[in-house]
C-alpha cells in the first residue's frame, strides 16, 4: 500500500513542478513535512528539488526542531525562506495573545500569507492529511485559495481521476497536499522502512512536563505555569510537532520507529488529540483553514 501511496504522491509533486512557476514547500520540521520533502527528493532525482522551502517560525519552536531543520535543508541542498512571527509582532503587523493559553498558532496564518505574497509563490505544498481531522477530510490535492488566501469549502473544484486543475487568477495561489491519502500509520510504516531521519522529539525521552486540560505540556519559558501546575520528569514523546505552546506530549517508551508503529496501531486517540490548537472549538480547524491556515 505505501508503494501505491508513494507513487501517487510523487505524481502530485511532479504535477506541481510542471504546472506552477514559483512553487514552495511548507516545512514545519514535523514528520509529515519531512515525509513530503523525502518524496520530493525521490520525485526529481537525480535533479535537485525544484521548490523553495518555507518555514513559518513562531519563535516558540522546540530547539530540536530548529536544529533538525537547518541540518536537513543542507542535506537536501534547497533554499529556505523563513517567515518570522516574532518579526511580525515587533513590526506590529500582528498582535500576540495574552494569558496562560496564549498561542501564536492563529497569527502564524497572517505571516504565512504575507510570506507567500512577498515572494510571489503561486503554490504552497503542505503535509496535511485527510485522516487527521474532519475539515481536512474534505480537502483536495490541489486546493484553490483566493487573493486573500482563503479556503471556500462550499465551492471547491471537483477533482477527477488524476487531472489536477491549477488554473488561477493573478494574486491567487494553490495549496497542494501530496500525502492527502496517507494515514498516521502509513506515514510511520514508510518512515521506518525508508529509514528517514527525524527529530529526536518523536522518540521517547526524559522531559520535564506538567499537565493542563488533560495534556502534557513541556515545561518551557513560553508557557506561563499556574501555581498548581508543577512540572515533573517523565518519559514521553511527541506524536505531532507544532509550537511548544500547543503541542502535548504522550507518555511513551517507544524509542524506535518500529516501536512507534506498534504504539500507533493500538492508540485509541487521534494525533490531533495532542494539539490544543484544535481543541479550542469543534470547528477550530475548519475556521482556521478558511482564513488561510493549512
Amino acid at each position: 500500500m505505501t508503494r501505491l501511496l508513494e507513487s501517487e504522491s510523487i505524481f502530485v509533486l511532479r504535477e506541481v513542478a510542471a504546472q506552477f512557476g514559483n512553487p514552495a514547500l511548507l516545512f514545519s520540521g514535523g514528520k509529515d513535512s519531512i515525509l513530503v520533502s523525502w518524496l520530493a527528493r525521490k520525485a526529481f532525482y537525480p535533479a535537485r528539488i525544484p521548490f523553495t522551502f518555507i518555514h513559518i517560525d513562531t519563535g516558540h519552536n522546540f530547539p530540536e526542531t530548529m536544529e533538525f531543520r537547518d541540518w536537513w535543508m543542507k542535506e537536501l541542498g534547497v533554499k529556505l525562506v523563513v517567515g518570522s512571527v516574532q518579526e511580525a509582532i515587533d513590526k506590529g503587523l500582528v498582535a500576540e495573545e495574552k494569558g496562560y493559553n496564549a498561542s501564536r498558532n492563529l497569527i502564524q496564518t497572517a505571516v504565512l500569507l504575507d510570506t507567500i505574497e512577498k515572494h510571489r509563490f503561486d503554490a504552497a505544498i503542505g503535509g496535511a492529511r485527510r485522516d487527521e481531522e474532519k475539515a481536512r477530510a474534505k480537502e483536495r490535492f490541489f486546493s484553490h485559495r483566493d487573493e486573500f488566501g482563503q479556503w471556500d469549502p462550499r465551492n471547491q473544484r471537483p477533482e477527477l481521476w488524476n487531472l489536477f486543475n491549477g488554473h488561477k487568477r493573478q494574486g491567487e495561489h494553490f495549496r497542494v497536499f501530496p500525502i492527502s491519502n496517507w494515514t498516521e500509520l502509513d506515514v510511520w510504516e514508510y518512515l521506518a522502512a525508508e529509514q528517514v531521519p527525524l527529530p529526536s522529539l518523536y522518540f521517547a525521552h526524559q522531559r520535564a512536563v506538567f499537565e493542563r486540560d488533560g495534556m502534557l505540556l513541556a515545561d518551557c519559558d513560553y508557557i506561563p505555569r499556574r501555581p498548581h501546575e508543577v512540572p515533573a520528569l517523565e518519559t514521553v514523546r511527541f506524536r505531532t510537532i507544532g509550537d511548544m505552546t500547543c503541542t502535548g506530549a504522550v507518555r511513551s517508551s517507544a524509542s524506535t520507529a518500529s516501536e512507534i508503529i506498534r504504539e500507533v496501531a493500538t492508540l485509541r486517540v487521534t494525533e490531533r488529540g495532542t494539539r490544543s490548537d484544535d481543541k479550542r472549538s469543534e470547528t477550530a480547524m475548519e475556521d482556521r483553514k478558511k482564513q488561510g491556515y493549512f
Binding site: 504535477e15 510542471a18 525521490k42 532525482y45 537525480p46 477527477l160 481521476w161 487531472l163 488561477k168
Partner: protein, 410 residues
C-alpha cells in the same frame, strides 16, 4: 482498495460506514467523544453516527453532506479508502468525483422501499465511470423480518435495470447496518443467505486486474534535467505508467513525433528497474536523444492510441454556467492541455430513464450529455472503457478557471 458510497442520510449509509469504521477500530475515542457531545447538543438522544461522516460546520447545521469526504480504515488484509459522497440530486458532481478513482461502488437500497431513483442514478454513474465492481447492499433487512423474498424482489428489480448498463461485476448482500448483520460477522437471522459478508467481500474482491496491463501508455509528465557535472547529459522523462508494461530495452514509439527508439533505463531514486507497470511513478531514459516534453506520450509501434483532434465524449457538467454550443474551453487530458471548441451537442441523457433527449440540449449543472469536441492540437486517446487514464479529460472554463465538466471518451 478505493470504494465509493452514495445515498441519502436515511438509507443508512452513514450507519453502514460508521459500523465499518467502528468494527475495524478506525474510530478513535476522541472522535467518538466529539460525536457524543454533538449528539447531546442537538438533542438526538442516541449517538448519531452520521455526525462522524459530516465534517463541516455548514453541513452539520443543514444536516446534509455537501462535499466528498475521504475516510480510511484497514484490516489485516487490506487498506481501504472510502470516498463518501452525498446523495442529493444536485450533487451528482460529487458522486462522479468519488467514482472516478474507485475500484468498487457500494449502493445501498432500503429493503422496505426497493430500487429508488437515487439507486438508479448511482448505478448509472458507477457504470458511466466504469467502476469495476458494484456491491448492492440491501439494507434494513431487520425491518422486513429478514425475509428472503424482499432480498430476491429487490435483486430482481435491480438486475432488470442493470441489464441496460455497462457493468461487469455486480454482487448482492442482504445487511442490517444498524444491527450488524452480514457487515463483519455472518448473520444468524438470515440462514438462507450463503454468500459472503460485506467486509469479507471488500477484503477479497480481486482488484489486481482492474489495471489495463495490455496497452503500453506512458504520458510524459515532467522532464528531468539536472544539468550538474555528474549528470550533465541526463534527460529523463518522468511520469506515471498509465497502462501496459514497459521494459528496459523495449522498442518504443514517441508521439507526436513518430520516431522510434529504445528504453535505455527505467530510473527511480531507489535504483534502476527492469520493468514498470501501472500505476508506478518512474523516469524513462531513451537510447536516442529526442526532445520530448510534457504532454507527449511514449507507446509501442504495434499498439498506438488514437491520434485525433475530434474527440467524442460523454460529459458530466459541473458548472452553473451551462455548456455553450460552440463554446471554447481549456481541455486537460493526461499531461497535455489544449483548447477546444464544442462542435456539437448530440443529446442529453435522462439519467433516470436512460433515454436520449435530442430536443432539449440545454446542458446545466449535473446534466450528462454526449458531445463532440474539436481540439487545437491532436490528443493521444483511448476509449474510456479501455483506459481510465488516456480516456478521461476535464474541461476548464476560461473565464472562471473552474473545472466545468468531466469527459469520458467514447
Amino acid at each position: 482498495m478505493r470504494f465509493t458510497t452514495a445515498g441519502s442520510v436515511d438509507d443508512g449509509k452513514s450507519t453502514l460506514i460508521g459500523r465499518l469504521l467502528y468494527e475495524s477500530k478506525a474510530i478513535f475515542e476522541d472522535q467518538l467523544e466529539a460525536v457524543r457531545k454533538a449528539s447531546e447538543r442537538s438533542g438526538d438522544g442516541e449517538m448519531n453516527l452520521a455526525l462522524l461522516t459530516d465534517g463541516l460546520k455548514s453541513e452539520r447545521e443543514q444536516g446534509i453532506t455537501i462535499d466528498v469526504a475521504y475516510r480510511y480504515f484497514s484490516t489485516p488484509n487490506r487498506k481501504f479508502i472510502i470516498a463518501d459522497t452525498p446523495g442529493h440530486i444536485q450533487y451528482t458532481r460529487n458522486m462522479v468525483t468519488g467514482a472516478s478513482t474507485a475500484n468498487a461502488a457500494l449502493i445501498l437500497v432500503d429493503a422496505r422501499k426497493g430500487v429508488q431513483e437515487q439507486t438508479r442514478r448511482h448505478a448509472f454513474i458507477a457504470s458511466l465511470l466504469q467502476i469495476p465492481h458494484l456491491v448492492v447492499c440491501i439494507n434494513k433487512m431487520d425491518l422486513v423480518d429478514y425475509a428472503e423474498e424482499a432480498y430476491h424482489r429487490i435483486r430482481h428489480e435491480f438486475e432488470l435495470f442493470a441489464a441496460k448498463l455497462d457493468v461487469r461485476d455486480v454482487h448482492f448482500i442482504p445487511v442490517s447496518a444498524l444491527k450488524g448483520d452480514n457487515i463483519v460477522d455472518r448473520s444468524e437471522n438470515m440462514p438462507w443467505y450463503q454468500g459472503s459478508t460485506l467486509l469479507y467481500y471488500l477484503e477479497n474482491v480481486h482488484i489486481g486486474s482492474d489495471e489495463n496491463l495490455i496497452d503500453p501508455r506512458f504520458p510524459v509528465q515532467y522532464v528531468i534535467r539536472p544539468l550538474t557535472d555528474t549528470h550533465h547529459d541526463y534527460r529523463g522523462y518522468a511520469g506515471r505508467v498509465a497502462s501496459g508494461t514497459f521494459r528496459k530495452g523495449d522498442e518504443v514509439l514517441l508521439l507526436p513525433s513518430g520516431f522510434t527508439t529504445r528504453i535505455s533505463r527505467i530510473d527511480t531514486y531507489d535504483g534502476e528497474l527492469e520493468e514498470a507497470v501501472p500505476p508506478m511513478s518512474v523516469t524513462l531514459l531513451l537510447e536516442d536523444d529526442f526532445d520530448l516534453g510534457r504532454g507527449d506520450m511514449i507507446v509501442r509501434e504495434n499498439n498506438k492510441p488514437e491520434i485525433t483532434q475530434d474527440v467524442e465524449v460523454m460529459v458530466c457538467w459541473f458548472s452553473d454556467r451551462p455548456l455553450q454550443p460552440n463554446g471554447k474551453y481549456i481541455l486537460k487530458h493526461t499531461g497535455s492541455e489544449v483548447r477546444c471548441i464544442v462542435k456539437e451537442i448530440r443529446y442529453k441523457l435522462d439519467i433516470n430513464t436512460l433515454s436520449r433527449n435530442q430536443n432539449d440540449l440545454h446542458i446545466g449543472m449535473n446534466d450528462i450529455a454526449r458531445v463532440l469536441l474539436r481540439t487545437t492540437r491532436p490528443l493521444f486517446t483511448d476509449s474510456y472503457r479501455q483506459n481510465r487514464t488516456t480516456g478521461s479529460l476535464i474541461l476548464i472554463d476560461e473565464a472562471t478557471n473552474e473545472t466545468a465538466g468531466a469527459g469520458m471518451i467514447i
